[in-house]
């Protein structure tokens, strides 16, 4: 039986992710309790907000040391993905270091934030199972993770960047699967079946 835990650290999109999961008949436990997180079959690490404020809250709750040690499938979303990286330019903050990437601000693009529906391509791995090149996902962000060996989906915003990442049991999406219609639902379903 899947036991889905959602990390509760005051992130903005907790409820939208909950609603999206409820559509899949899954009720997540929203918690910041280390034991409960460790006991879950899947952990979702949501995030909307400012990296500095979010990282301070994770540290205050002692979750900064727990999250990188989780062994079950973990899905970081948006700011959650950025905080799983080594460092972010937003507030010049060190992240949790699961992905050895630096998160950088968009430069020389038409508009910042990159906001709206954009396509996914170069899809890899189980999280992207059943998706097609050209499927749309919903993005809102001003900072991005460059393309690397951990990239499992590309989005192009004048240049290709990481739409999603995977390293071992850690998965992450820069876009919002909980707001990305059918493609997003498929990704959440894929995650839950890991």
């Amino acid at each position: 039986m899947a036991r889905i835990a959602m990390i509760d650290y005051g992130a903005g999109n907790v409820r939208s992710v909950c609603f999206a999961l409820e559509r899949l008949d899954v009720t997540p436990e929203v918690t910041n309790d280390a034991a409960q997180l460790r006991a879950a079959s899947h952990v979702i690490f949501p995030g909307v907000g400012h990296a500095d404020a979010a990282m301070k809250e994770l540290t205050r709750l002692g979750l900064d040391t727990i999250i990188p040690t989780l062994k079950q499938p973990v899905l970081g979303i948006c700011l959650g993905m950025q905080l799983l990286c080594q460092h972010t330019e937003e507030g010049d903050v060190n992240g949790l270091g699961v992905f050895p990437q630096n998160v950088v601000r968009f430069q020389d693009v038409p508009k910042v934030p990159h906001m709206g529906w954009n396509t996914l391509s170069e899809l890899k791995g189980p999280l992207m199972n059943g998706l097609n090149d050209g499927d749309f996902a919903y993005y809102v962000h001003s900072y991005y993770v460059p393309k690397s060996e951990f990239t499992i989906a590309i989005t192009d915003y004048g240049f290709p960047f990481s739409g999603a990442l995977q390293k071992d049991n850690f998965f992450a999406c820069q876009f919002h699967p909980e707001k990305s219609g059918d493609a997003g639902e498929r990704i959440l379903r894929n995650f839950l079946s890991l």
Binding site: G12, G49, H50, A53, M115, V140, H141
Partner: protein, 249 residues
């Protein structure tokens, strides 16, 4: 490639869905929950909920209704109306909204935009520039409190001030075009388009596909409308509608 977003705007008063003309004469259109439900089925890109006259009438943010709407909405959501503290904005975001839109409070308390951006991230903060063209000078001036108070700022000044404070998006709301079906006044958007680097949403006056296409061709990222998505035909029969995603606008 990033698509332009077609954004229906739902006006609310109390628990009802209303539509105004030039920010006045609110007409009851129906139940906002029902509208959100229909927009779900239509695969809407994004939706804004706006409470009319909240700042003008000192009305509180309709927290309960906003929560109920978010529960129904499987697409990105924004909310504007009567927000005047970081706590208000944080609550709305916590219900599952991606963005909060500030108008009155952004100009009466300019540090608020900055505080909200710091707390919630720039991407979540929209400043609504409610503009009216000054017929004497031809300049666009920004108003607050449902178009009743002149900020004394031109659209350029207000746009610059908002972006410098941390707004991640600007909504150009054309007061005199609201509900009139006379098309967007794209000149107002053009005035600021090349001076700010954040995405812009235009709202007010759209009557049909041609208007959406004109805005898109100008490179506007957010193309919003209210009447055309809640009414059908000249007699304004209430009918929630939305262009098919497959149709190229």
């Amino acid at each position: 490639m990033l698509e332009s977003r077609i954004i229906p705007v739902l006006g609310i008063m109390g628990n009802g869905l209303y539509k105004t003309v030039r920010f006045s004469d609110p007409a009851y259109v129906g139940d906002p929950l029902n509208a959100v439900h229909i927009f779900n089925e239509k695969g809407v890109n994004e939706l804004f909920v706006m409470a009319f006259r909240s700042s003008l009438n000192h009305e509180p943010v309709p927290h309960r209704l906003l929560r109920e709407l978010a529960e129904e909405a499987f697409f990105p959501l924004g909310y504007g109306g009567g927000l005047n503290s970081v706590a208000d904005c944080a609550h709305v975001i916590s219900y599952g909204y991606e963005k909060v839109s500030l108008n009155s409070a952004a100009f009466t308390n300019p540090t608020l935009v900055n505080e909200v951006a710091k707390e919630l991230g720039c991407s979540s903060v929209v400043v609504s520039l409610d503009v009216r063209k000054d017929v004497q000078t031809g300049a666009y001036r920004v108003y607050t409190h449902s178009g009743t108070i002149d900020t004394g700022l031109t659209i350029e000044q207000a746009a610059r001030q908002s972006v410098d404070s941390g707004a991640g998006e600007l909504l150009v709301h054309l007061i005199d075009h609201d509900g009139t079906y006379q098309g967007y006044d794209l000149e107002a958007v053009e005035t600021i388009m090349h001076h700010v680097t954040v995405p812009i949403i235009v709202l007010g006056g759209a009557s049909g596909q041609e208007d959406l296409v004109r805005a898109k061709n100008m490179g506007i990222q957010g193309i919003a409308a209210s009447s055309m998505f809640v009414y059908y035909g000249k007699l304004r029969a209430v009918l929630i509608n939305y262009p098919d995603r497959a149709v190229e606008i």
